[in-house]
């Protein structure tokens, strides 16, 4: 990581109990996991960087040799790259907003007493356990299908006609599916945070005549601040890699309407088997991931007290 992170880290480190005595060696404890991870990420990283300078297409062994910066040249010349970055940002951003906003409201609802609360909570978080391929299949075939789907039946019965979700609202449809899966995760973390809210604080506010909205915005939401940071960070990590939902429903289309960076790399790497070009895109993704990580440290990390 960069020096900036270390600078941010310093005050935090100082608050910790002092590393008493130089004889304490924690290295053997940290080395196995950090070391493995280092190898796991550095070896493929080295391979990726190396491949990105080669003319290397798995399907065409006759083409080979050193490519210089040609793979990068073709990549940067390709408007698909910039568009896929935009899609990645939109996808992550929209899902974050939807899941966090709704999870905040729901967490507030679920920490109140009502009959059957634990059963409702179980139902609520179930989508998180469903594998992405299956949830995409359910939504695509059983719910959003314009002829046989449940939603089509409802809109038709109400006289609105049918909505062809994946053609007319492709990105929105993917966002809906992904939000359905990840909202329970945000909900779980934020509910846990909210349950630690001191009951007296809430009661005091209640007695002061604060309405439910006022309590929600002025007491509960601030209390969930750290949880929101955690959710933002965790979801961003997973949402950048969203693939199965797109693959099953739209295959990145129509056109490139739902092609995020992960899907673009998939197209290059496993459809074209253009290892050189895909590696160049992979290097870009790695650079972006690190920029993003640094960025998140600034924005979110402070609240994490790492």
């Amino acid at each position: 990581m960069s020096h900036a992170d270390v600078a941010v880290a310093m005050p935090t480190a100082l608050r910790r109990p002092k590393n008493t005595g130089a004889h304490v060696s924690t290295l053997p404890m940290v080395v196995p996991s950090v070391g493995l991870l280092l190898i796991f990420s550095l070896v493929p990283l080295a391979a990726t960087i190396y491949f990105s300078f080669l003319r290397y297409n798995l399907l065409n062994p006759l083409v080979g040799g050193f490519a210089g910066f040609r793979n990068y040249y073709y990549l940067f010349r390709d408007p698909a790259l910039y568009h896929s970055l935009l899609i990645s940002v939109l996808l992550v951003g929209e899902v974050l907003i939807i899941t966090i906003a709704s999870a905040a409201v729901l967490a507030s609802l679920f920490q109140k007493q009502f009959p059957g609360r634990s059963i409702a909570r179980v139902l609520m978080i179930s989508p998180f356990f469903v594998m992405p391929t299956v949830s995409a299949l359910i939504w695509k075939n059983l719910l959003m299908h314009p002829v046989n789907g449940f939603i089509a039946w409802i809109t038709r019965s109400l006289g609105f006609g049918v909505i062809d979700f994946f053609a007319d609202w492709p990105l929105t449809s993917v966002v809906v599916i992904v939000s359905w899966q990840w909202m329970p995760f945000a909900f779980l973390i934020m509910l846990t945070a909210l349950q630690s809210l001191d009951e007296e604080t809430r009661e005091a506010a209640d007695l002061d005549g604060a309405g439910p909205f006022s309590i929600f915005f002025h007491i509960e939401v601030p209390h969930m601040g750290r949880a929101i940071s955690v959710v933002t960070m965790m979801e961003t990590i997973f949402l950048l890699g969203i693939f199965a939902e797109i693959y099953v429903t739209t295959s990145g289309g129509p056109g490139d309407a739902t092609t995020n960076l992960t899907f673009l790399i998939y197209q290059r790497a496993l459809l074209a088997f253009n290892v050189g070009g895909a590696s160049a895109a992979g290097v870009i993704a790695i650079v972006l991931a690190n920029i993003l990580a640094t960025f998140m440290v600034r924005i979110v990390g402070k609240g994490l007290d790492v």
């Binding site: 990581m1 270390v6 941010v8 880290a9 310093m10 910790r16 109990p17 924690t26 404890m29 940290v30 996991s33 493995l36 991870l37 796991f40 070896v43 493929p44 990283l45 990726t48 729901l106 507030s108 609802l109 007493q113 009959p115 909570r121 179980v122 609520m124 978080i125 179930s126 989508p127 998180f128 469903v130 594998m131 992405p132 299956v134 299949l137 075939n141 719910l143 089509a152 038709r156 019965s157 329970p184 973390i189 630690s196 009661e203 209640d206 949880a227 955690v230 960070m233 965790m234 990590i237 950048l240 693939f243 790399i265 790497a269 496993l270 895109a281 992979g282 993704a285 991931a289 990580a293």
Partner: protein, 273 residues
């Protein structure tokens, strides 16, 4: 004034409606899996029908479900156990003996999770081939362990950090070694944290669908590969697909239901103060 026991009818109703809407897709899928094919795609949808097990029979005849399910369980649990074993010492050291590099290391670990796995399939496939590990459960266990290690370390780190420092100091004065402190004093205290970390990790492993499809063929193929063999079949397939999907997710969903209390209490990521 007993606020605690008071029911909130408005909040309760709203919460129940949302919960039912969230669960509806799963319910609808399970329902479809018991319908004959023609009724599964009928509009208006049939709510009352004679349930049939025909779809399940067809699916089970065509694929060895138990073998896929066993692989899923074995790989998820194995990868999780290994990840926890590796992460506990690291998280312990980072939480109690932070250095200048601790924060950077943690964030770097997390950032490795943002690397797109599709980009490195070819190098990984070549390594696995050369080590003779293709289509083995060992390979998937190693892959998943490495993939989720950052999350596991981070979660455990946040649990360790909430432990009272005085305990550590006290045991140290007693002359206990690092390892003894960790194993006899701290582990029992953070066991709930470890449990919920493990639960989350099992769920993530179970649902991983890229490496499991690309690095296995037959022997090590888990349920994600099972569902891939049914995801675009010929003819009328809604009901059969629903049956296959139900079979693929049933173990993990039921597991999730039973462990959700633990999950709820443990998924804090240090966000509770």
């Amino acid at each position: 004034m007993n606020q605690r026991a008071r029911y909130h009818p408005v909040a309760g109703t709203a919460a129940w409606i949302v919960a039912l809407v969230m669960f509806f897709p799963i319910f609808w899928m399970v329902l479809a899996s018991f319908k004959p094919e023609l009724e599964a795609i009928a509009t208006p949808p049939e709510v009352f029908f004679t349930p049939t097990l025909e779809n399940y029979q067809t699916i089970l005849e065509r694929a060895d479900y138990l073998s896929f399910a066993f692989n899923s369980i074995f790989i998820s649990v194995g990868a999780t156990a290994l990840a926890i074993a590796l992460a506990v010492p690291a998280a312990y050291a980072m939480a109690f003996y932070p250095t200048k590099r601790t924060r950077g290391t943690l964030l770097w670990m997390l950032s490795t999770k943002m690397l797109p796995s599709v980009g490195v399939l070819v190098p990984i496939y070549l390594f696995a081939k050369n080590l003779g590990l293709l289509d083995t459960r060992t390979l998937l266990i190693i892959m998943y362990m490495l993939m989720n290690l950052p999350i596991v370390v981070w979660m455990l780190f946040t649990f360790f950090k909430e432990m009272p420092k005085a305990i550590i100091e006290a045991t140290r004065i007693d002359g206990a070694s690092q390892w003894q402190t960790m194993i006899w004093v701290l582990l029992p205290l953070v066991l709930p944290g470890i449990a919920s970390t493990a639960l989350l990790n099992i769920i993530l492993c179970w649902n991983e669908a890229f490496w499991s499809l690309n690095l296995t063929a037959h022997d090590a193929a888990p349920l994600t590969a099972f569902i891939a063999s049914f995801s675009a079949p010929q003819g009328l397939f809604w009901a059969k697909l629903s049956a296959a999907s139900t079979l693929a997710i049933a173990p993990i969903v039921v597991f999730g239901w039973f462990s959700q209390r633990q999950l709820v209490s443990g998924l804090t990521f240090g966000a509770v103060k």
